[in-house]
Subunit: 201 residues, 2 copies
């Protein structure tokens, strides 16, 4: 058509994600975004319609990035379930610390800030939660099928607890709690799954 964009739209969304993630929706102004993304208001609105739409895009981008990474870490089917789980949980509470801790999880922060008031946003946070919940269920079911977990274990109930624990861990990371304490909680959560059944060979 005509003159092409002089900035990378995806980079801009990434920057917006970081800003919204750190400060939340209401505390981030359009001018803050403009400064961070190196965009004038006109370019910003032409490209992203409005603040709310940009926020939703940022949330979608975060979900895509994180669920990709999570899948990579959870699909290591050849390793012991407990080990995979432990490393994933530890990653969840250290990943935001790319030079800057205390950011927590963008989805959790958003869910608590906006609650159930914003329909579009709630759909996203709920979908993200469901992905994590299902991933945990699958992981545990797989562990039981592989004989790593007791057949007596109610894996769905355990997944429900682990999922709840994940949310709690991310709140605590946001609140600046020590990694040591979080690790204690994680290790105990894994012990919750019970001892490995005696090998049948």
């Amino acid at each position: 058509m005509a003159r092409p964009r002089q900035f990378d739209e995806e980079n801009a969304v990434t920057s917006a994600t970081h800003l919204f993630w750190r400060r939340g929706y209401h505390a981030t102004s359009v001018r803050d975004l403009g400064d961070e993304l190196k965009l004038t208001p006109s370019s910003l609105y032409r490209t992203f319609t409005d603040k709310h739409t940009l926020f939703v895009r940022a949330l979608d981008r975060y979900r895509a990035t994180e669920s990709l990474e999570a899948r990579r870490r959870l699909d290591a089917t050849d390793r012991p379930v407990r080990e995979v789980l432990r490393e994933w949980l530890l990653w969840l509470v250290t990943c935001p610390a790319d030079g800057e801790s205390g950011r927590g999880c963008f989805v959790v922060n958003t869910a608590t800030e906006l609650g159930t008031t914003d329909e579009k946003v709630q759909q996203r946070t709920e979908a993200a939660f469901e992905v994590t919940r299902q991933a945990l269920r699958s992981l545990l079911a797989e562990g039981r099928d592989h004989g790593e977990l007791s057949g007596d274990l109610d894996t769905d109930a355990a997944a429900e607890l682990l999922f709840t624990t994940v949310l709690g861990l991310r709140v605590r990371e946001r609140a600046g709690h020590d990694l040591e304490h979080l690790t204690t909680a994680i290790d105990f959560a894994i012990r919750t799954l019970g001892p490995a059944p005696a090998a049948s060979c």
Copy 2:
């Protein structure tokens, strides 16, 4: 002195608490507060200095109210630990539903919204977290001393997990999750404490 106040200051703080609780700090305007508390801006500022000070007072009031109720529920020393714990956890995810669910916990909402950016507020949220953590440690230690929990149980680690679970539960209540799922998580968390030791009589 002179003309006395025509409104009840404590009632006003309570109303402010409800508003901040539901909407968060940034999304609640001084005019919203004025409408809710039936106060003109001048009265509001004369009485509470500014928005931030009122927020801190609201947070303190919430903490006082909740920790009082929590102590009442946790200090029932004559009842089984698991039962006390279960009822307390269930109460935590249903108490905000005084005709209106999805509010979560004011402290958790605040901690995730403001993170570590607001020093005064962070002191409060951290203190509130520490009270809960300690209450759980005491409860479990007491349960072990009473012979209801195994001597092998690492009660401090268990308390760490339970505390993390509490935060997760309150996020999920805020997010509108079914009570049924939360109950599943709670029951599994309690099962985590292991079976009661065989009676020694």
